[in-house]
């Protein structure tokens, strides 16, 4: 359900982002011209500035420079509803509109002596009588003590003054809601990871969500927190770092979900590319752009490989990655970044939910399997072949030789008792297992009237083994073999261990061990053994069963 609400939220946000950019502007901006120096007349509307410099100057030492931008107002403002102008300008400055001072942002020319004042993004109201339809001039008197090469206007927006302020707050409040969703997702998946520390995919997803949350915060903090232009670089560095982190983690995550050959090498090369972009001294937006682009390309490659290999979930993720492209074209960079990222994060979210579902199913299966194995172990003693044959023999012994009958009953009681002790365990002591085998032989001696012998070699009493494994092999040995000439069958259990593995060899010495009629069909006994071994040792075991000249040989290796 979390996934669904997130996707709705994403849809709403995307729509809002797109619509906020689609209003027709009320103004037209012309080219800005510059002049270093300071004359109050330069604020005037009808100054002849045709000899002013066209290129952005480098203004050293915090000296004053002026720049003028002609602006056409296409539609006069309504009375009581003044236009405002929003500026993204480095430096401390005064703003003149048609020669009239409409605002002040810091102390131009006195930066070296006064502490930093003013903010990076400032909005100024323009008196209504100065916003008639037609040409106007925006003149700015500024100094640029900290970043002499960042002169000029970086961003300019004109609209109703209230709207300029409100829209930004509305936009950032939506984006913060959005960020909150990712924060919650991040915390949730962090807890999920803490409860199962092997699941690194969850951790990476959690970190990606958190980085994305901070990225949104860092981007939209400017709407409500004044930042002096000298400090702005810190914000950009933070954004760059966050971008670097996200751009690395997203493809890394995909590479975990859709493993491909030479993964380490390719990831290292990719990291190199990212670092190159990060460290190169281009404009921030270009750096971020390059990182986002490489992230997209690399992720795309991985997911296409996943689709090619028909890996689960790869198709939907590919769709989200492809969807992020048109969004990137429709919306301006900083918005497409968020829309695109969130789509890709949603894809990751989907993958994670698939994996969690798989794990849950696997876990449920393992529970069912354990119960099934437990029942199978219990069934050994009540399945008709064992029980009814034993009881028939028992009746006969009681009728013919009551004393022996009593011994038989005691042996039977002992086997039942041993089964009761082990029935709910997945690993038991080898000593218990051997006791079980010996009692079983005792019972079978009464039934079959064959002399059974049990031998063991090198048994380490500390060792553990899944219950009923050798008991099952013993049963098979009894069922499928005929006694030697002296009416005996001998079973032998040998234990060896070294650094790599532990090995049990279970031998049957008998006259004729019947060949299995068909090897394709595996008996329930062998199935039981294999399921028990898998339950306790996963795939770190090996079991072979083969005839020998003297009978039968089973070998069980458990790798450490």
């Amino acid at each position: 359900m979390n996934l669904r609400s997130l996707s709705y939220f994403l849809l709403v946000s995307t729509v809002l982002l797109v619509t906020s950019c689609s209003q027709s502007p009320v103004f037209k901006r012309h080219k800005t011209v510059f002049q270093i120096g300071d004359q109050q007349e330069w604020a005037a509307k009808d100054l002849n500035d045709q000899y002013w410099e066209k290129g952005k100057p480098i203004v050293l030492g915090g000296q004053i420079y002026w720049f003028r931008t002609p602006i056409d107002i296409l539609k006069a403002s309504e009375s009581l509803h003044p236009y405002g102008i929003q500026l993204d300008v480095y430096g401390e400055y005064e703003v003149f509109w048609d020669g009239v001072l409409i605002g002040k942002n810091g102390n131009p020319g006195q930066e070296a002596v006064l502490p930093p004042e003013g903010k990076m993004w400032a909005t100024f109201s323009i008196p209504t009588h100065l916003t008639e339809e037609g040409q106007h001039v925006l003149a700015i008197r500024s100094s640029l003590y900290y970043f002499p090469d960042h002169s000029g206007i970086w961003g300019l927006e004109m609209d109703y003054y209230d709207d300029l302020l409100n829209d930004r707050l509305i936009e950032s409040s939506y984006m913060h809601l959005f960020a909150g969703a990712f924060l919650i997702a991040s915390i949730y998946f962090l807890f999920l990871f803490l409860s199962d520390k092997k699941e690194y995919a969850t951790l990476i997803f959690s970190i990606s969500c958190f980085l994305f949350f901070t990225l949104i915060l860092a981007e939209f903090i400017k709407a409500y927190m004044p930042i002096h232009y000298s400090m702005h670089i810190i914000r950009l560095r933070i954004i760059g770092l966050l971008m670097l982190g996200i751009s690395f983690l997203i493809p890394f995550y995909f590479s975990m979900q859709f493993p491909f050959p030479k993964r380490k090498l390719l990831l290292t090369i990719y990291t190199g590319v990212l670092l190159f972009f990060f460290l190169s001294k281009y404009l921030f937006e270009l750096t971020a752009n390059n990182m986002a682009l490489s992230m997209w390309l690399f992720s795309f490659g991985i997911v296409v490989f996943g689709v090619y290999k028909k890996m689960k979930g790869a198709r939907l993720v590919l769709l989200t990655i492809l969807l992020s492209v048109p969004i990137g074209f429709v919306t301006p960079f900083n918005k497409s970044l968020f829309a695109g990222f969130s789509l890709i994060l949603l894809g990751m979210f989907y993958l994670l939910s698939l994996r969690i579902k798989e794990q849950r199913l696997a876990y449920e299966n393992s529970l069912v399997q354990s119960t099934r194995l437990r029942l199978e172990l219990l069934k050994k003693n009540i399945q008709p072949h064992f029980l009814m044959n034993t009881l028939t023999s028992l009746i006969d012994w009681v009728e013919e030789s009551p004393k022996k009958g009593v011994l038989f009953i005691e042996a039977l009681a002992k086997e039942f008792d041993l089964f009761n002790q082990i029935e709910n365990q997945t690993l038991i002591s080898i000593v218990q297992e051997i006791a079980l085998c010996r009692t079983h032989l005792e019972i079978m001696e009464y039934r079959k009237e064959i002399n059974y012998f049990w031998e063991e070699e090198g048994i380490n009493p500390e060792e553990k083994i899944p219950p009923g494994i050798f008991h099952t092999l013993l049963e098979n040995g009894i069922t499928h073999s005929l006694p030697l000439e002296d009416n005996s069958i001998t079973f032998k259990l040998i234990f060896e261990s070294n650094n790599g593995y532990k090995c049990y060899t279970f031998l049957t010495f008998a006259a004729a061990v019947r060949q299995k009629a068909n090897h394709k069909k595996e008996g329930t006994g062998l199935k039981y053994i294999k399921a028990r071994l898998t339950e306790s040792y996963h795939s770190n075991w090996d079991f072979t069963s083969e005839p020998t000249n003297t009978g039968w040989k089973n070998t069980l290796k458990i790798y450490s």
């Binding site: 028939t392 006969d396 069922t479």
Partner: protein, 232 residues
């Protein structure tokens, strides 16, 4: 009486042997115990037997192969098994009785008595008759059999599709097994009652039964009253 016991549990085999000797007494001519399936098959092939006491689970083998062979032979088969759920299948194949383990002397005696007294088996579950054809066992559904004609030691099965098959069992033994739907209307004939459409008296006071397919089968003089009553 020649009897074969097929059982891989030595103690149980001895029990059956002891009780069988006791029950049959002097009537017993030979008694043989075998504990593996291939040996049992070989022995059946080469000896003339009257009864086989069969365990269906031998050394982990499914004894139904042996059962199919056994029921196609001239002798009766009694299954002694730990698996009660196999009883229905065993009866479908046409065994004389099924003795579940653990058993006592009374239960075994009851089963063995059926072979002596020619008591009719309370077996309405029989579904198949196994016949040997070109060295292989073929199973014929009882519903396809119209009537059976005694031909010395063996019998001829007349089937609904007009074909005739040979069975190794005598008419007496089949009568025992098929008593629920077939009647011995003549010393040489065993007829499915539901196939008879008409009972008539022919010249020379010969009684005849007419079957659905138009065939006429004689009814024994002594049996006529009885058969007519049952048929009506």
């Amino acid at each position: 009486m020649n009897i074969l016991i097929v059982e891989d549990e030595s103690r149980i085999a001895k029990r059956i042997e002891r009780m069988t000797r006791d029950i049959f007494g002097d009537a017993l001519q030979s008694l043989k115990h075998i504990n593996t399936l291939p040996e049992a098959l070989k022995f059946i092939e080469n000896s003339s037997l009257d009864l086989v006491l069969l365990d269906l689970n031998l050394n982990g083998d499914n004894g139904f192969n042996l059962l199919r062979t056994a029921v196609s032979e001239s002798f009766h088969t009694i299954v002694i098994s730990a698996y009660k759920d196999q009883a229905i299948t065993a009866f479908e194949y046409g065994v004389l009785d099924f003795v579940p383990k653990p058993f006592n002397r009374d239960r075994l005696e009851q089963a063995l008595n059926r072979t002596i007294t020619k008591e009719k088996a309370e077996n309405n579950k029989i579904k198949l008759l196994a016949i040997k054809k070109r060295g292989r066992i073929q199973l014929i559904p009882i519903e396809d059999v119209l009537y059976i004609k005694g031909a010395g030691a063996y019998t001829e099965l007349f089937l609904a599709n007009g074909k005739k098959e040979l069975h190794d069992k005598s008419l007496e033994k089949l009568e025992q097994l098929l008593s629920s739907s077939f009647e011995r209307i003549h010393k040489s004939y065993l007829v499915k009652m539901s196939e008879i459409t008409k009972i008539s008296v022919a010249s020379g006071s010969k009684y005849m039964a007419e079957l659905k397919n138009g065939e006429h089968i004689p009814i024994g003089r002594t049996k006529y009253k009885d058969i007519k009553a049952k048929w009506l």
